[in-house]
């Protein structure tokens, strides 16, 4: 298939002619902007990108990207994307989804796509609320949340999206925040470079139905105080003046104040490539993600391990068998046991 010459692409090349219709102030604008800035830097021709979404505010995303796009049905984007990637490995396939789309109605497709390690990138915009249906609680809404469908407070225990992904065996799991532009772009680039399913949770503010859900993390002081910026091979240090750290006791993480004899050397050195996912799972569990707990919010790459992808496995089998077992359509149709009736009406075993 012909592709365009490798002329440098710009952010503008990825902006579609459609008017963006998210609410003014929605976190989705920032994420759209980040993606439009990152895509031109990936060295991939524009026509090779496909963005697939489900239903929800976030799922309008493909309409605003000047790539191939598919706004599918509620929760099913990973399934559509899997079908695309299995038959068109040359395409760069991205799924954009939300907390309701991916974790409620589409939970089954999400876990199985991650389990298989299909080489697609999944961006989950987590705003902890149903926005498009005007404000019901979601599977990531905190306990006690009052919404239109939980007027007396939710008694429904929430999911931690990172734990779902790690539990499903995802080979790449990361988290960023809508308005942390440089960090978000860096995480997106890491996801793009990963071979296999890349799961990225983006904390996203819904200023209409769940405003300031992540304010403790995203406001001026929260960014440093409550964000734990994971870096592979670096000790887990955070806080206003990098004055706190995380130590691993063998069973749990604990926050330590640095100084007074304690230094970064006492903190766990983050290993995103650790084969056993338990530590990443435990890291994801230290915070619900809003910055309101005793622990900081882990941001960045929690897990990035190499593993064979499902789509490559499928295609390898087809390639191998196509070479190993050449057969014509005529042979297939005939099968192994035939008989022939000749013009005189006599019958003999086998073909003519």
């Amino acid at each position: 298939m012909p592709t365009t010459e490798a002329t440098p692409l710009t952010r503008k090349d990825f902006q579609s002619d459609q008017e963006v219709r998210w609410c003014p102030g929605c976190g989705d604008y920032a994420i759209l902007s980040a993606v439009q800035q990152v895509f031109p830097e990936l060295g991939i021709p524009r026509e090779k990108f496909v963005i697939v979404s489900g239903i929800g505010c976030s799922s309008r995303f493909p309409y605003y990207m000047n790539t191939y796009g598919f706004h599918s049905i509620h929760g099913r984007a990973p399934a559509v994307a899997t079908g695309i990637k299995m038959t068109r490995p040359d395409l760069d396939v991205w799924v954009v989804t939300g907390d309701g789309d991916a974790l409620s109605i589409g939970g089954n497709h999400l876990i199985h796509t991650l389990r298989r390690n299909v080489n697609v990138k999944i961006l989950l915009f987590n705003n902890r609320v149903y926005g498009l249906t005007k404000g019901q609680y979601s599977p990531t809404s905190e306990l006690g949340k009052r919404t239109k469908s939980t007027p007396h407070g939710s008694v429904d225990f929430p999911f931690n999206p990172l734990n779902i992904a790690i539990g499903a065996g995802a080979t790449f799991v990361a988290r960023s925040v809508d308005i942390f532009m440089p960090h978000l772009k860096e995480v997106l680039k890491r996801a793009a470079a990963h071979k296999g399913s890349a799961f990225v949770e983006v904390m996203q503010n819904c200023n209409i139905y769940n405003d300031k859900a992540f304010a403790a993390l995203t406001d001026k002081t929260g960014r440093q105080q409550n964000g734990l910026y994971l870096e592979h091979g670096k000790p887990l240090v955070f806080g206003d003046n990098q004055d706190k750290g995380l130590r691993f006791t063998g069973t749990d993480f604990e926050v330590i104040e640095l100084g007074n004899g304690k230094s970064a050397d006492d903190c766990l050195v983050w290993d995103e490539k650790h084969a056993n996912p338990s530590l990443a799972f435990q890291m994801a569990s230290i915070s619900t993600g809003d910055g309101l707990g005793d622990f900081p919010v882990p941001l960045g790459v929690l897990r990035a391990v190499d593993a064979p992808t499902y789509d490559a496995g499928v295609i390898d089998q087809i390639d191998e068998l196509t070479t190993a077992r050449p057969q014509t359509l005529d042979q297939l149709i005939h099968g192994t046991d035939t008989w022939t009736v000749d013009a005189g009406g006599s019958v003999h075993r086998g073909a003519n």
Binding site: I73, G83, I318, W339, N352
Partner: protein, 621 residues
Amino acid sequence: MTLPIAGQTDAGKAAEARVSDVVIRFAGDSGDGMQLTGTQFTNTSALIGNDLSTLPDFPAEIRAPAGTLPGVSAFQVRIADHDIHTPGDAPDVLVAMNPAALKANLRDLRDNGVIIVNTDEFTPRNLKRAGYESNPLEDDSLNAFRLYQVALTTMTRRALEESELDVRSKDRCKNFLALGMIYWLFSRPLEPTIDWLRVKFRRRPEIAEANVKVMKAGWNFCDITDAFQVRYDVEPAKLEPGTYRSIHGNSALAIGLVAASRRSGLPLFLGAYPITPASDVLHELATYKHFGVTTYQAEDEIAAVCSAIGASFGGALGVSCSSGPGIALKAEGINLAVMVELPLVICDIQRGGPSTGLPTKTEQADLLQVMFGRNNESPVPVIAASSPADCFDTALEAVRLATKYMTPVVLLSDGYIANGAEPWRIPEVEDLPDLRVDFHQDAEGFMPYMRNQETLARPWAIPGTPGLEHRIGGLEKEDVTGNVNYEPENHDHMVRLRAEKVARIANEIPEIEVEGPQSGKLLVLGWGSTLGAITGAVNQAWADGLTVSRAHLKHLNPFPRNLGDVLDRFERVLVPEMNLGQLALLLRARYLKDIETYSKVEGKPFTRDEILHRIQQMAGA
């Protein structure tokens, strides 16, 4: 036909009698290998050149408690020296491996029919399990039949005295003892089954040889003893010249899809989730990877259809295959394909329902589901296969319509033809329809929802094509541009446009043909798998001097353009259906014509005689 009881010839040799047609039913526990036994008999008879038709009938439980009525599995095969259309109404021969198999099948057996029973299984315990109060082999209850009592298990063990197999493995060979006897009784060669066993168990030759030995023992038992006074032969049928194979419906469907893939140049993608009786299509296509076939056992029915839609978006031939309950789950996905106007083939191998219903039994009651079981105005072409071999042609037709009109197409089959087999005259590849597809390439003036003026199809523009980047989705489209649009006039226009696109298919599909008088008192109109029983019944009615016509529908949406005229030419129209009148409902609504429904929803196909009796009532015999 009734098998003749010829007198004994001299020297104690059995007499030989030629019969034109025989129906045999093998019945036993679901672990007794009855499906396999019946299939072997079928394949051997096919290679002899008989016309044939099969009706497997097995329980939904993999291994129901041994010896009980729910655990009985049966396989009926009819072989003939002439053209036949059904697996036969009543067996001439019943092989019953235990009391339950006898009890469950006896009522169907023809008077004076042959029963071969395994006496070893007629123990007090097994008789009780089957609900017998006294042993039918000892009371007079089987006097109307020709009963042959054979100690199959004992004989099998004796034949394998020198084998190293354990007793359990030895006993599992006993179905081949029965098969050997039936082969002798109907003068069939053993070689095709011996060849098959040696290939099938090439890694366990001791199993293959044990079965060969037991089968030969069964044959020799009949040949040496005078257990049977008569031996039968069924000559080859006078089939049209050509090369044939025996084929099951699901197999024909799988091969048809591969053929369509080759003829269209599109790689085949099957998204499926296991479900009876459709799983065999997945199983078979999974063995055709060397034809570039991708099979995807998805996490559920929804993912199965959605992955196929994704594959179609990328330029593959997306197919999803299921049965009624799975089709219900796919409804939203099919509707997405309607909206985004991508080719997609949905195969519905119907079974008894509603709900989980009768998973292994047949029914034709998904017609209205596939027509209307989606939200809003959702026109989808629907076609139905009418016999096992016809599944091949129907698969090609489904792909042709899906790609030409850029639409999901539903292909209806059912458990009866999916699992049934018949001889198939193998077509020449170059005679198959040319299904080549051109993807849109030209960026100049491209709009994702511009249309072919004849078919109203939109262009198939696949990702990876420079300059054609576009977005599709489930929201209403603006005509031509494909942009999201909520305007009232546009929506009204698009709803009508999607309906018109499907309706236009009627312009090119063949007109329905009437067999027999072209007008008159009675037309028997069928669709799908009732073809065999209707054809057999109408042929017999003609032979009996009755005036009746018949016609059969492959295209159910849209209908052939002359259907209304055809209906008007007859005073009465009878529609036999394995449902409560679903086609009749569509016909009445569309043509304002009174239609008489003949319903049967017993989980089994119509017999020829059932339809014949109805014709006799209506045509005044």
